[in-house]
């Protein structure tokens, strides 16, 4: 791949520090960053909230089975798709990290302003999962390998492998046992029980209820491995979907004659 004459001229113009072209290009950078910032928050947040939201909202839903398995799988979708344009078109290994950061801004604002200030849930009940380490590792593997399959396996896998270890430090205090009304529960269960969640009773929790053979208590590891394998596959699939969506073309505009174009106007296709 190489540049034609005009493109080479443009590149030269852009790399002339202090030139108008450089300034405008830099301004455009920040405009696009602002667009992507808000758009990624919205898109990734709505995607996550409606696929794994229930587990992310509540401390007493964060189990060893569904939460650990499903969150990485659903988390990787948009970052994998955006990895294609970010890396293959701009050489930027930041899709995962940017997605993770944007998601966290969106969820924290929601938990604080909606769950806490509006419906009065305490922050100990509604804190969101940590997602950054796995997504950042995904970007770093892409940076170091620049290879789809290596990134899928080691990067995609990382999104799952890093999930439980990243969250255990903040979850562990909530899994300390408590005796309440002569029953043993952990602090998370007790928080869920105590702070009345009128329309979301205990039985709605889609958590491990004791049907998983735990092989000596290693449920988390089993869930992680399963999630990792699925993440590896999903990375490839969504990267390819990202590629497809990036290359959507154009279709004829029947209204163009109203703005001064006729059939003889030809546009170079790129």
């Amino acid at each position: 791949m190489s540049l034609n004459t005009n493109e080479a001229k443009l590149l030269s113009a852009l790399t002339t520090r202090g030139s108008d072209a450089a300034k405008i290009a830099r301004g455009l950078d920040f405009i696009v960053i602002a667009i992507l910032f808000f758009a990624i928050i919205a898109a990734l947040h709505i995607h996550m909230m409606l696929t794994v939201g229930d587990w992310d909202f509540w401390v007493d839903w964060k189990d060893r089975m569904n939460w650990v398995t499903l969150t990485p799988m659903l988390l990787i979708v948009i970052p994998a798709a955006l990895s294609y344009p970010f890396m293959e078109k701009f050489g930027l290994p930041i899709a995962g990290t940017l997605c993770g950061l944007c998601l966290l801004i969106g969820v924290w604002l929601s938990r604080y302003f909606s769950f806490h200030l509006w419906t009065y849930f305490p922050m100990s009940m509604v804190w969101p999962s940590i997602v950054i380490p796995g997504l950042l590792l995904m970007d770093l593997v892409y940076l170091l390998s620049r290879n789809l399959f290596a990134t899928a396996i080691f990067g995609g896998g990382s999104v799952a492998f890093a999930f439980a270890p990243a969250n255990w430090p903040i979850l562990a205090p909530y899994h300390v046992p408590v005796i309440h009304m002569d029953q043993v529960v952990n602090v998370a269960d007790l928080i869920g029980y105590t702070f009345t969640r009128t329309a979301t009773p205990e039985y709605l929790r889609m958590i491990e209820r004791g049907t998983l053979r735990t092989f000596g208590g290693e449920s988390t590891i089993i869930s992680t491995f399963f999630s990792a394998f699925v993440c590896m596959v999903l990375f490839v699939i969504w990267w390819k979907i990202g590629k497809w969506l990036t290359h959507l073309g154009r279709v004829p505009n029947v209204l163009k004659k109203h703005v001064g174009y006729d059939e003889h106007d030809v546009l170079e296709e790129k």
């Binding site: 005009n6 001229k9 443009l10 030269s12 113009a13 852009l14 002339t16 030139s19 108008d20 072209a21 405008i24 301004g27 455009l28 405009i31 696009v32 667009i35 808000f38 758009a39 928050i41 919205a42 898109a43 947040h45 995607h47 909230m49 409606l50 696929t51 794994v52 939201g53 229930d54 909202f57 948009i78 798709a81 955006l82 344009p85 078109k89 604002l109 929601s110 302003f113 909606s114 769950f115 509006w118 849930f121 969640r197 009128t198 329309a199 709605l204 979907i241 990202g242 969506l245 990036t246 290359h247 073309g249 154009r250 279709v251 505009n253 163009k256 109203h258 703005v259 546009l267 170079e268």
Partner: protein
């Protein structure tokens, strides 16, 4: 060393470059004020008057607001989109590359307002709906969270999207000559939210009595969230166009030629 703007401006021929960001800030500020007001309203009116749809005070504080929204917002939509079309540039084939670039950059900057509106619809108010319905017993389709989410933020977001689309096809040569599919997906695709809302309420009325948030009934909204990936496609199309357009506007040393 690049020839500076001042040298060129002194010649009197070429206008110096300025990013027209005032409309962006005004747009964002307007949205912020609207959304903050809605949120402030919910803080007290939802609890005091929003729990019981059979209460006459519910009509007073919530249903009136609903009626205002569904009357005013479609009118704004029709008026603004019509305005965009009626004031279209009828001689797009004659605009200068500089003017083309000016308008393109301006239009891209207005996408910030669109994305900001998308934030409120897709992030803050959307998750807020979970907060409300997982807390109180479900009422009618017109709840304090729905009235602002479905009948406020989503129409606003759609209005901005359609206006951006019509601006693009009436004032930007690149988008007027041929319709960009990512553009349609990104700015008009969210229109599909409205039927999704219908489907959602249908399901809640007839089947879904329990308040899970992560259920297949809601996944139409997820699909709309994926339009972000098309935004990347739009960006690439714009990049391709700009690398053709900019050499007509800048010299090899990066100075403005027109």
């Amino acid at each position: 060393m690049a020839v500076t703007q001042d040298d060129i401006v002194k010649k009197g021929d070429i206008k110096p470059w300025k990013f027209k960001l005032k409309p962006v800030f005004m747009g964002m500020l307007t949205l912020l004020v609207i959304m903050a007001t809605a949120r402030w309203y919910q803080q007290w009116a939802a609890w005091d008057y929003g729990l019981d749809a059979t209460d006459p005070l519910f009509d007073e504080y919530w249903m009136k607001l609903f009626w205002v929204q569904i009357t005013v917002l479609p009118i704004i939509f029709i008026v603004s989109v019509s305005y965009m079309w009626l004031t279209r540039d009828k001689h797009l084939n004659n605009i200068t590359p500089r003017e083309d670039l000016n308008r393109m950059i301006f239009w891209i900057s207005m996408l910030i307002v669109y994305a900001f509106a998308f934030y409120f619809a897709g992030s803050l108010y959307a998750e807020q709906d979970a907060t409300w319905h997982q807390t109180v017993v479900r009422d009618t389709s017109f709840t304090p969270s729905h009235i602002f989410l479905f009948y406020g933020t989503m129409p606003i977001f759609i209005i901005i999207g359609f206006n951006l689309f019509f601006y693009a096809i009436t004032r930007l040569p690149f988008f007027a000559k041929k319709i960009s599919i990512p553009l349609i997906v990104t700015v008009c695709g969210p229109f599909m939210l409205l039927p999704t809302v219908g489907y959602n309420e249908w399901g809640h009325a007839f089947w879904l009595m329990e308040e899970y948030f992560t259920v297949p009934l809601h996944w139409g909204f997820v699909f709309f969230g994926w339009s972000i990936i098309a935004l990347a496609g739009l960006l690439i199309q714009i990049m391709n166009y700009l690398i053709e357009l900019m050499p007509k506007v800048f010299s090899e040393k990066g100075e403005l030629m027109s």
